[in-house]
Each structure stands twice: as C-alpha cells, then as structure tokens.
Amino acid sequence: MTHQTMAHRTETLERTYAASPARVFRAWEDPEVRRIWGSPSDDVEIFNEAADFRVGGEDVQLCMVGGEAVARVVGRYLDIVPDARIVYSESISEGSVLLGVSLVSAEFIAAGGGTRLVLTLQTAALDGSDLLDGVVAGWSSALARLGGKMVAA
C-alpha cells in the first residue's frame, strides 16, 4: 500500500556569531567548510558528492555513519545574495525513499560587529515508502477505508 501522509512545520532558528556577515557567508559558500559544520554530530561524516554554489546549482552530500551512507541530501540553490542571503531547497533521502524536503532561508545580518544569522526552515516530511515498514503506520487509514467498505456492504 502507498501512503500519502505529510507533516509540515516552519521554524526559525537564530544565532549571533562574532564574525562578519562576509565570513559567515563564506562558511556556507565553501563546500569544504560546510562539509565540516554541516554534520549534525561527530558520528556523522559528510561526503561531498557534488558542490555547485550558484543559483540553480546543486549540492549532493552523503551522510556517512561508520563508512555507510545513511542519507543523501540534495541542495538546490534558489537565491544567493553575497554576504546577505542564501535560499535553497534541501531534500533528504534514504535509499530510494524521499523522507523530507525543506526550504532553507539563511539571512546574514550585521549586528554589533558580528552577525545575526536568521535561519528559517519550512519543512515537509513525506511518507513515500510503500514497503512493509510503512504498514504499521498505515493501518489506521487503510483499515478505516476497509472498515468503511465493510460497513457500507
């Protein structure tokens, strides 16, 4: 069975860094630097499969845990304003299953000699799996439909 469940959330994260907007921007622009901070933890190593920092360009990162790729992250740049703003979409897949997509907007605002980074995530989690592992969760809706038919019969 295929499920069509989705969940959405928008969240804004903020940080203030003791570095100029230009320096913060470069840390996003440089794929090697981004590879380092882009890892969510020391257990996860990121491998840059492709990097193309320009509007329309595509970044492909593999999240490696213990030498095994656990996720593939594809970024597509939509808007780049040097030292000020980066807007891109990030899609996260596991094998052939698309888990989620996020519109990532990063704004670099000069503040007191440093930079205030305002990051807005507009995320959609997708249920793209038609494998057995979706069955447990899909019970409710599938049984509801089935049950509805049984009641109607």
Binding site: H8, V70, G113, L121, V136
Partner: protein, 115 residues
C-alpha cells in the same frame, strides 16, 4: 539522518492479533468516522461495557487507537501514528540544524578574527 522506519515487531504482533477479531475491526471502522466515547461504542454492540473495554484495551496496546479520559468519559480515536512519526522526523531534522549552527559557531570562533 538515522533510519527510523523499522517497525517494532512486538507492535506488529499485537496489531495483527488485535485485528483478528471482528468486533475490534468493526470498532476501527466506526472510529474512522470520528472519535467516540466507550459508552457510545458500547451502544452498538450486544455486550457489556467491561467486555467492550477489553477490546478497546487490545486495540490501544497495538497502537491502533488511542484513548483519552476526561472526567468520566473515555474517548477513543484512531491513532494517527504515521503522522506523529513524520512530526518526530521534522523535530529531529530541525534539531540537527540547531547542532549544525552551533558547530558553525565553533568553526567561526576557532578562526578567531572578526573580519
């Protein structure tokens, strides 16, 4: 992003067991029209309230429905487990971004200058 899609085998067993009963399947069918109290559900069956409650407990243990008690009324509804799972995925993804931004800060601090 770690794999969070593997089902709990115990939950699968409980789920299939829960569905092996016609009354329990019927309860799920009725809840697909919207939530209902145990008393409301019981009105549709020729059985005592405790017997019906047993069925409700089995369905609840299987994660197929959830119940909430408000005062003397226990309300049952279909568990939208998948939705909760997706919601948790977003929470983890956003939490990963929090850590990314912290690591970015570490890198920027390490370089020292503020140019």
């Amino acid at each position: 992003m770690a794999n969070h899609r593997t089902p709990d085998p115990d939950l699968l067993d409980r789920g299939f067991n829960a569905l092996a009963d016609a009354t329990r399947r019927d309860i799920i069918a009725r809840l697909s029209d919207g939530e209902a109290s145990v008393t409301d559900l019981a009105a549709g069956y020729d059985m005592t309230l405790p017997s019906l409650l047993q069925h409700v407990r089995v369905l609840e243990a299987a994660g197929l429905i959830s119940t909430v008690k408000t005062g003397r009324v226990r309300t049952c509804r279909l568990e939208t487990q998948r939705l909760a799972e997706l919601d948790r995925w977003i929470t983890r993804y956003h939490a990963a971004w929090q850590r990314r931004l912290d690591r970015l800060g570490e890198i920027l601090n390490r370089k020292g200058d503020t140019q």
